[in-house]
């Protein structure tokens, strides 16, 4: 029996034994981005399975915009996303000697407080 779920295909052993090559034809996925207010950034919220961009949008609407404020949604084919290889995660590691890039590196609090005291300023 064929699967009722269009995203899942199941191997037909009998046909496979007879030499038939199975081709996968299930639905592709779209990445969904949600925008809360006009002008605000769109934020990735998840995926939907769909057969076309239109279908992805209408399905995303109920998946991701049912509750809370929404002004728009974007959908992008998952296969159109360009990304680093997971093996290259190390390129994001910060070298310990470069802590000067971190705002917390600068210990200026004491100097600010001294300045405020000197000039009778309160925070």
């Amino acid at each position: 029996m064929n699967s009722l779920d269009p995203r899942v295909e199941r191997l037909d052993l009998k046909k496979a034994e007879e030499g038939e090559v199975h081709t996968n034809s299930h639905l592709i996925t779209y990445e969904v981005f949600h925008q809360e207010k006009r002008g605000k950034q769109v934020i990735h919220v998840g995926i939907v399975h769909a057969s076309s961009p239109e279908m992805a949008l209408i399905l995303a609407k109920e998946q991701y915009a049912r509750r809370g404020k929404t002004t728009n949604l974007w959908v992008v084919k998952t296969s159109d996303v360009f990304t680093f290889s997971s093996e290259d995660e190390d390129i994001f590691e910060t070298v310990p000697e470069k802590t000067f890039r971190d705002p917390a590196f600068y210990k200026v609090r004491d100097r600010i407080e001294a300045f405020q005291k000197r000039n009778n300023l309160t925070v």
């Binding site: 269009p6 239109e54 279908m55 209408i58 399905l59 609407k61 998946q63 049912r66």
Partner: protein, 252 residues
């Protein structure tokens, strides 16, 4: 304004929405895929909410019973829904085709209500405009997708459309107050609605590579507005009111 005429119009509209909302909710959990299961369930919930808003108008403006009582404590012979919405969900092709035919009729009906001389109806129509817009967009997308899909999907959609058509035209059964509603500017009437509906859906059906059925007027399934229902309404009401019947006086 003729109160009986307005009450009749609102009750028919509300009953259609309640019954189709309940029918479509039968797909919850068994929809063709997760995303669509959720979308279809959510739309059926919207429809029940729209019915509730209409019952609320009957309660507030005409002293009718509360929405809960109107929805869950009436006999079959007190419902004014058309027979189209009573039909079982069938296969998904039929449910989608009914969703398409019904929701476009509903969209145009509420566009006409937005111009109604009866203010509560006009206000509600403006409030739910966006909700209905999504419902028709959803229906439209599926009809085009499946009408233009595989040989099987196309054949299924056409056959569902042929089956649904005589029932769908029954949505436009006139009430006894048709002329009053028109002359008092409450609603432009079922004939006007039907003409707008045919003009709206014909190009969409064509774009879906499907054919608009042609049938003889005598085959149109009327009766619902006069309390004549199919064999399917009573079992639906029994199921829908099962919980209420345990204790009709319970506070929710």
């Amino acid at each position: 304004m003729n109160q009986e005429a307005i009450k009749d119009l609102i009750l028919s509209t509300a009953d259609d929405l309640l019954i189709i909302g309940h029918r479509n909710s039968e797909w919850t959990g068994i929809g063709p895929m997760l995303e669509e299961d959720l979308a279809f369930s959510s739309m059926s919930q919207d429809k029940i909410g729209q019915a509730q808003a209409l019952y609320q108008i009957l309660h507030d403006s005409f002293g009718a019973k509360t929405p809960d009582i109107l929805a869950f404590q009436r006999y079959e012979k007190e419902f004014k829904s058309c027979q189209f919405v009573e039909l079982p969900i069938g296969d998904y092709d039929f449910s989608l085709v009914r969703h398409f035919l019904f929701d476009y009729a509903q969209q145009i009906r509420f566009e006409l209500f937005a111009k109604s001389s009866f203010q509560p109806l006009a206000q509600l129509a403006k409030k739910i405009k966006g909700e209905i817009k999504y419902h028709t967009l959803h229906a439209d997308t599926f009809l085009k997708q499946l009408g233009n899909g595989t040989e099987e999907s196309h054949a299924r959609m056409q056959s569902a459309l042929n089956y649904a058509w005589p029932f769908a035209l029954g949505m436009f059964e006139k009430s006894d107050y048709e002329s009053e509603l028109i002359s008092e500017g409450v609603f432009e009437g079922e004939d006007a609605l039907k003409a707008l509906w045919v003009a709206k859906i014909t190009p969409i059906i064509t774009a879906a590579n499907l054919t608009v059925p042609t049938i003889d007027e005598s085959n149109i399934v009327y009766g619902g507005r006069q309390f004549y229902h199919s064999q399917y309404l009573q079992p639906l009401l029994v199921e829908m009111t099962e919980v209420t019947q345990l204790d009709p006086s319970a506070e929710w």
